[in-house]
């Protein structure tokens, strides 16, 4: 996080003027359960995108990433506070989506 925070501080003017979203891809693969966090304005577009991705659950390909994620979470996105590189962006008012698995 030190690297991302210092980068944001260096390019703060450009980022706060132009950045529309930060996409964080941290622990992308560590278990079978998709786990997403998002600032509220991105929940709808994230829902739509998750429905377009096929999830290879149990060797079958008949479920979307959204289906598998919804089964485990009832469609609740995690609340982003701190803990990964979205932190520096959030502190400057730039919304984020974070993709993880557990």
């Amino acid at each position: 996080m030190i690297g991302s925070v210092e980068w944001i501080e260096e390019y703060e003017n450009w980022l706060t003027e132009t950045a529309v979203a930060y996409l964080n891809i941290d622990v992308a693969v560590s278990g079978p359960v998709p786990d997403f966090g998002a600032t509220p304005e991105f929940k709808t577009i994230a829902d739509e995108l998750l429905k377009k991705v096929v999830h290879p659950s149990d060797g079958a390909f008949n479920q979307t990433l959204y289906d598998v994620w919804f089964d485990r979470t009832e469609g609740e996105y995690g609340v982003l506070g701190s803990g990964s590189d979205y932190t520096g962006f959030l502190h400057k008012g730039i919304g984020a989506v974070s993709i993880d698995s557990c």
Partner: protein, 163 residues
């Protein structure tokens, strides 16, 4: 064993000597004591934790009587409070405070709309040996994404937004 960080994750998640401004070689630096913990801490392994708890067994108030949320864990111990007479803990926490370079790896693609930017990222440091899941599974995806985007830009494609 996974090592955490004592970085002030919410209050000042960057370089503790340059709060709020970029950390460059010639940047003015402030006292990091404002943004580093005053109480030293160190993570312990399962093996060490088991020994520490076993040494407290039968001394003081047992964990069930303490009755606090998450006080009792899954190790084979009563999670007693102690103190345990005659038990001495020797702890060494070696740290070397110094200013040292870190590197960001960054790629840019200009969009047709110069006023809008999407940033995609991950960290590269890890809290354990290897870090296959955290962070390298995410970094692998970013590298593959960069390769795919390179092929697209080579073919003349341009994204709407800067990436």
């Amino acid at each position: 064993m996974q090592k955490g960080s004592v970085l002030f994750l919410s209050d000042n998640p960057g370089d503790p000597t340059t709060p709020g401004y970029p950390s460059k070689e010639d940047s003015p630096r402030t006292d990091p004591a404002n943004f580093t913990p005053s109480i030293p801490s160190i993570p312990v392994s399962h093996t060490a934790g088991q020994k520490l708890l076993a040494a407290l067994d039968g001394h003081g108030v047992d964990g069930r009587t303490v009755n606090r949320t998450a006080w009792v864990g899954a190790l084979n111990a009563t999670y007693s409070t102690g103190p345990a007479p005659g038990v001495k803990l020797s702890l060494r926490n070696l740290a070397e405070p110094k200013i040292t370079p870190v590197w960001n790896a960054i790629g840019y693609i200009n969009g047709t709309n110069a006023d809008e930017t999407i940033v995609i990222g991950n960290h590269r440091d890890t809290w354990m040996i290897g870090g296959a899941g955290d962070p390298n599974s995410g970094s692998a995806i970013l590298i593959e994404l960069a390769k795919a985007l390179k092929r697209l830009t080579d073919s003349g494609w341009k994204p709407t937004r800067n990436m």
